[in-house]
Amino acid sequence: MAVLLEKNFPVEAGAFTTAGEASTTIKRTLKQLGIGPEVLRRVSVACYEVELNLVIHSRGGTLTLLVDPEKVTLISKDVGPGIPDIEKAMTEGFSTASDEARTLGFGAGMGLPNMKRNASEFDIQSEVGVGTTITMSFALK
């Protein structure tokens, strides 16, 4: 089914002052569309994690929201640095967050596992020096 709604949110690396704004707008959009509470909650959790990942770990990127009658999709696409070992990155408790990020309460190593747990479908592609793309979909039915 064709995508009926697309919204793009540029996310800057290290921009903690605006971190979470894209998630807030996405949540508002989904509530206005009347997306049910259960899906909404899972999208909220995954969306915030992925947005913060862009801020903390990437060199910047874009968060995209797609909605069609079957599902909500979130795509996070960054311009590097890329993840050398995806399997390790997906392990609970593993984190490469900076001390700065840790003092803000991040870096528990639950980001990617949490995203995977909340999404209906989860895909991660990464190439060192090129960037990482995470695609998550949330089934509406």
């Binding site: 709604l5 979470g20 998630s23 949540k27 509470p37 909220s44 915030y48 009658p69």
Partner: protein, 431 residues
């Protein structure tokens, strides 16, 4: 036809000048200025009373019951909110207020703070269940519960299903009075002395149960003058005050947390602050927090718009009054926990007033139109069009309740184009 919702918060049309004060402050974007005066969108209003506080012309009012309404009942019980105690300076004891209420025509006084004691215990019972999503959210402030229904429907499962202190107080007061004097419970009227319109609405439209045990709500402001004059002459009867310091502490922000879960809780006051924290709960950032207490009013219930005293003054008065117990302890008889319906009987449902359309496809089409129009708007959020922000204006236009030319900036541009067309036309016709 949808049933018209009851709201305590009302507008007195003739006093409204159509300014933007309330428009900009409403947390659920429930106000529009149309035809030179404000209108409240019933489905969205959560009766928090922010508009009453900010209106310079006193055009926003709270509908409460007059003191005279107690005469409908043969027996009358006053249920004073704990915040009432903070309205008087240098009170020697809470008993003065309780005795004063009796002199005003009530047969009995039952402290809502006692209800708070019982409710605190009931919430503690619920917190023992590890399956409840954390943080567990307080159900005490009806404006916050309704805010969650409208803006955070995905957090409804976090709200603890315990009834409000005023409900519990009314149930106990009625039962005990009926037994003590051998009278028919239906002849007893329980009247809440309320600091806010949200509670008044909660009596008419209870959340999570069908019928309120409270028969009416009288505002603190309504009785303030009369009660003040009673304080001096009232002989102090210390047996009247039974609630614990913890129960009375519910009057101010942080009091409930202290009574329920002092080790791991967060108390937030002011509705905008609550919204910020609820966003974080939604993002799962506070999953290690046990209990969240949100109060729509600054300072908690002492900051309610129907109080007389400044909330900071009232807060410190409450602090002075809650130093009676050496060890903080809830005053709850074991029997109360099983005898009364302390828990809600129904589910709290989401309020879909923010939804653009019931049909997802149609909602998405509308969303697209809103985006397109929003990008044409100046983004000043000036409110001159009568909608609180440029975004809500775009929504209103797409929903058919406003027209593009309601935006004075778009209108100005349009006039400029038209003026130019007139000049061009004049030039061409002259030749």
């Amino acid at each position: 036809m949808k049933e018209k919702r009851f709201h305590s918060v009302r507008l007195e049309g003739e006093k409204c000048r159509g300014c933007t004060n309330c428009l900009k402050r409403c947390p659920t974007e429930a106000i529009r200025v149309r035809g030179g005066r404000a209108h409240i969108i019933d489905e969205r209003c959560i009766d928090c009373g922010e508009c009453i506080r900010v209106c310079s012309y006193h055009a926003k009012v709270a509908v409460t019951d007059p003191l005279s309404s107690i005469s409908q009942f043969k027996y009358k019980i006053a249920l004073p909110a704990p915040s009432l105690y903070g309205q008087f300076s240098n009170l020697k004891s809470i008993s003065q207020v309780l005795g004063g209420l009796k002199r005003m025509g009530f047969d009995e006084v039952y402290e809502v703070a006692r209800g708070a004691d019982v409710v605190s215990k009931a919430i503690q019972e619920r917190l023992k269940d590890p399956k409840l999503p954390r943080p567990v959210i307080s159900s005490a402030c009806p404006a916050i519960v309704r805010l969650i229904q409208v803006r955070f429907p995905d957090l409804i499962d976090h709200i603890v299903d315990v009834r409000q202190p005023m409900e519990v107080a009314a149930m106990i007061a009625r039962t005990e009075f009926a037994r003590k004097y051998g009278v028919d419970p239906s002849e007893i009227g329980c009247f809440f002395i309320s600091p806010c319109p949200a509670k008044v609405t909660a009596i008419r439209n209870p959340i999570g149960h069908t019928k309120s045990a409270v028969n009416g709500a009288i505002s603190v402001l309504e009785i303030y003058g009369l009660l003040s004059s009673q304080l001096k002459n009232t002989p102090v009867d210390l047996t009247l005050e039974e609630a614990s310091d913890l129960g009375v502490g519910w009057a101010r922000s942080g009091g409930e947390s202290m009574a329920v879960s002092p080790d791991n809780s967060m108390s937030v006051d002011g509705i905008e602050n609550c919204i910020r924290v609820l966003e974080e709960i939604e993002d799962n950032r506070l999953k290690n927090l046990e209990f969240f207490e949100g109060a729509a009013c600054t300072g908690g219930c002492v900051g309610g718009p129907l109080n007389f005293e400044n909330n900071y003054v009232a807060r410190s008065e409450i602090r002075k009054l809650t130093t009676r117990d050496a060890e903080p302890n809830l005053n709850v008889d074991a029997g109360m926990m099983t005898k009364y319906d302390l828990y809600m009987s129904g589910r709290i449902l989401p309020n879909s007033a923010m939804k653009l359309d019931d049909d997802l496809m149609e909602a998405m089409r509308k969303m697209e139109k809103i985006e397109k129009l929003y990008n044409e708007l100046p983004g000043f959020d000036c409110g001159s069009c009568g909608s609180p922000t440029c975004r809500t204006f775009a929504e209103d236009v797409v929903q058919g309740v406003a027209t593009k030319m309601d935006c004075i900036h778009m209108m100005k541009d349009q006039l400029r184009v038209m003026a130019q067309q007139m000049v061009d036309l004049a030039k061409t016709t002259r030749e």
